[in-house]
């Protein structure tokens, strides 16, 4: 197995999951991950592979978000089509999961960018120095960042769940 293949096998799944959680779009996540690995191949030497990959992926997302809103609109349209197709065969588990996912998505969106990225990277197993390096923070601040992120995420999620319940009861 050559270095590129090893890198891909080791980190592709975790990077795609991280990006999917962050972007809410699996296809987009796959694209960013692919571009990240392409760049890794061009790189002669990477000291900390995981931190490097997540940093590059973060930068790609940021650049892309800046310059390519048109493509996102297109993706939104595609998503609508996909939704319409799925509605032909709804099943309870997917409805329930979609509901949970929607609330989870909103809760994640409620976090600040820094808290969100730190938490999502931690969930993928990055250690504190890796997270600090990817986000340009000091290692000492990561614990505080993560504790705040977790607390806010859970609070936001619970508040949204309550609101969803009240909203329905009122309607």
């Amino acid at each position: 197995m050559d270095a590129a293949e090893r890198l891909f096998r080791t980190y592709h799944a975790t990077l795609v999951r991280y990006l999917t959680r962050r972007l809410g779009d699996r296809d987009w996540a796959e694209e960013v991950a692919q571009e990240t690995f392409v760049r890794a191949l061009r790189q002669r030497e990477i000291v900390n592979e995981r931190a490097w990959l997540f940093t590059v992926a973060n930068n790609l997302v940021r650049d892309e978000a800046r310059q390519d809103s048109r493509r996102r609109r297109h993706l939104t349209l595609l998503r609508e089509e996909a939704r319409a197709q799925e509605l032909a065969e709804p099943e309870p588990t997917s409805l329930e999961r979609a509901q949970e996912a929607a609330i989870a998505r909103r809760a994640v969106e409620a976090l600040t960018e820094r808290d969100r990225l730190a938490l999502l990277m931690r969930e993928e197993g990055l250690d504190y120095p890796e997270i600090a390096s990817a986000l340009g923070l000091s290692v000492g601040s990561i614990g505080t960042t993560l504790s705040r992120a977790r607390k806010r995420l859970v609070e936001a999620y619970e508040a949204l769940q309550r609101r969803a319940g009240d909203g329905h009861a009122a309607s």
Binding site: R9, A13, A88, E91, R106, R150, Y157
Partner: protein, 448 residues
């Protein structure tokens, strides 16, 4: 040492502290109850955050709303109710309901029953997530990536100083049970705040436990089930016991009315109003002496037959310890449902008192047994069926369903109590509701 702040506690749980910091915080925690509580809270937050984030995984493409979608939602909220319809989740839109209605109803009962027969996956997914430290629903996703993740974790742990490896492993495990294969316990003094004393060490162990529980509960039955299939293949109905519309209609045509079944040397199956009960073969070790099952009779007839049968007790244990502790009558306390049931919605399926019986239904692929209202309660409405089964050691799930709505309750079995979560899904308003449920044991008394 001063009380550690939240960041330090999270750092400790994440295995990110230096050995010196680690031993300082650990010796402090050994004596400080206040910080013990803070650690427990932090553990809870870590587990909850992991669970929430895992809800974002593995959802069919197109179901996860785009970030733009939530911008719309926020704008709508800010502007009052201006664009309420657009903001409403997809599955609540009236047009969507209309379009999907019939298929959903038909698919629902089938899917419910089918879901209940996949204990290793689904059984864990409804298990109280907080006590497992992660969302079990993520386990399937996790396991597919376990190799990758394991390598990553190993690589990371290898880089840590030896003294902190165990703790790093511990922190890692708590953030996702599938992430590591070992879960070193912190010193005894620190176990008190641990909210999940029985958290599974890893995915493998969990699957094995579920499998063991399943085998313990239904293993004996595998043989008798095979006997049912082989000796009476044409009588075995499709698995739509929840009252699949087509199955029910077909069954009605040749159903003997109100049959009450007794022990039989060969499997006997009574098909009645779309429901199928059976008494398994007498050679089944487990059910040879079990209480006779009642075929689904019209409600009046069932009530008439009930008192006589209630007095029949199973003469010897017929199941795993969990089964035996769970069987019997229970008084259920249900918290407020969220979202609330409307006052016009009279069709709540959960009786106030239930009886978990040892009798098995024939669609018994995963140790399903019968649930019904306790003797003094009103019988199930026609078209309602109830089953329960053990999904893991000390965990049971019961499902009560009609063809258009169902309620599942996943509960932990205590000595004389049950507690867990109920989920009620209605095909009518296409809404999932949840409630916390606890139960205490009551005597299965028959009314005169």
């Amino acid at each position: 040492m001063q009380h550690p702040d939240e960041g330090t506690i999270h750092g400790w749980l994440d295995g990110a502290l230096t050995p010196e910091e680690t031993s300082a915080i650990e010796s402090h925690l050994a004596t400080c109850a206040e910080c013990g509580a803070a650690v427990a809270e932090a553990r809870g937050l870590r587990a909850a955050a992991t669970r929430i984030l895992s809800a974002l995984d593995d959802v069919p493409a197109g179901v996860v709303p785009a970030p733009d979608y939530f911008a719309d939602v926020r704008a709508a909220e800010a502007a009052g109710r201006a664009s309420r319809r657009a903001a409403r989740p997809l599955w609540r839109r009236p047009g969507v309901r209309a379009a999907a209605g019939l298929i959903a109803v038909a698919a629902l009962s089938w899917a419910v029953m089918r879901e209940d027969r996949a204990p290793t996956r689904e059984g864990t997914s409804l298990a109280a997530p907080d006590t497992l430290g992660m969302d079990p629903a993520a386990a399937t996703t996790e396991s597919t990536q376990a190799t990758t993740r394991q390598e990553a974790v190993s690589a990371r742990d290898a880089a840590l100083p030896t003294s902190s490896k165990a703790r790093a492993g511990d922190g890692q495990t708590a953030s996702g049970a599938a992430k590591t294969t070992a879960r070193p316990q912190p010193p005894a003094a620190h176990r008190a705040p641990e909210p999940a004393p029985e958290a599974y060490a890893d995915q493998e162990t969990r699957l094995r436990r579920v499998e063991e529980a399943r085998r313990a509960d239904s293993g004996v039955d595998l043989q008798s089930r095979a006997a049912v299939t082989s000796s009476a293949p044409s009588s075995v109905p499709p698995p739509a016991t929840a009252g699949g519309v087509a199955g029910g209609a077909a069954a009605r045509t040749n159903a003997p009315q109100g049959a009450i079944m007794a022990e039989a040397p060969v499997p006997r199956i009574v098909i009645e109003r779309g429901y199928v009960d059976s008494v398994l073969a007498a050679d089944s070790l487990e059910t040879a002496d079990a209480t006779p099952a009642i075929g689904r009779a019209p409600a009046a007839q069932r009530r008439a037959a009930a008192p006589q049968l209630e007095r029949v007790e199973s003469p010897r244990p017929a199941g795993s310890p969990t089964t035996m502790r769970a069987q019997g009558c229970w008084l259920l306390e249900t918290s407020e449902w969220s979202p609330r049931f409307r006052s016009t919605d009279t069709l709540r399926l959960l009786p106030r008192r239930i009886e978990l019986r040892l009798d098995r239904g024939v669609a018994d692929e995963a140790g399903e047994r019968l649930v019904r209202p306790a003797p003094a309660e009103p019988a199930f409405a026609m078209g309602t069926t109830g089953i329960w089964r053990v999904i893991a050691t000390n965990q049971i799930r019961l499902t009560i369903a009609t063809h258009e709505r169902w309620t599942t309750v996943t509960m932990t079995v205590g000595e004389d109590s049950l507690s867990g979560t109920a989920r009620a899904y209605s095909g009518v308003d296409r809404l999932l509701r949840r409630a916390a449920v606890s139960a205490r044991r009551v005597v299965c008394r028959t009314e005169p």
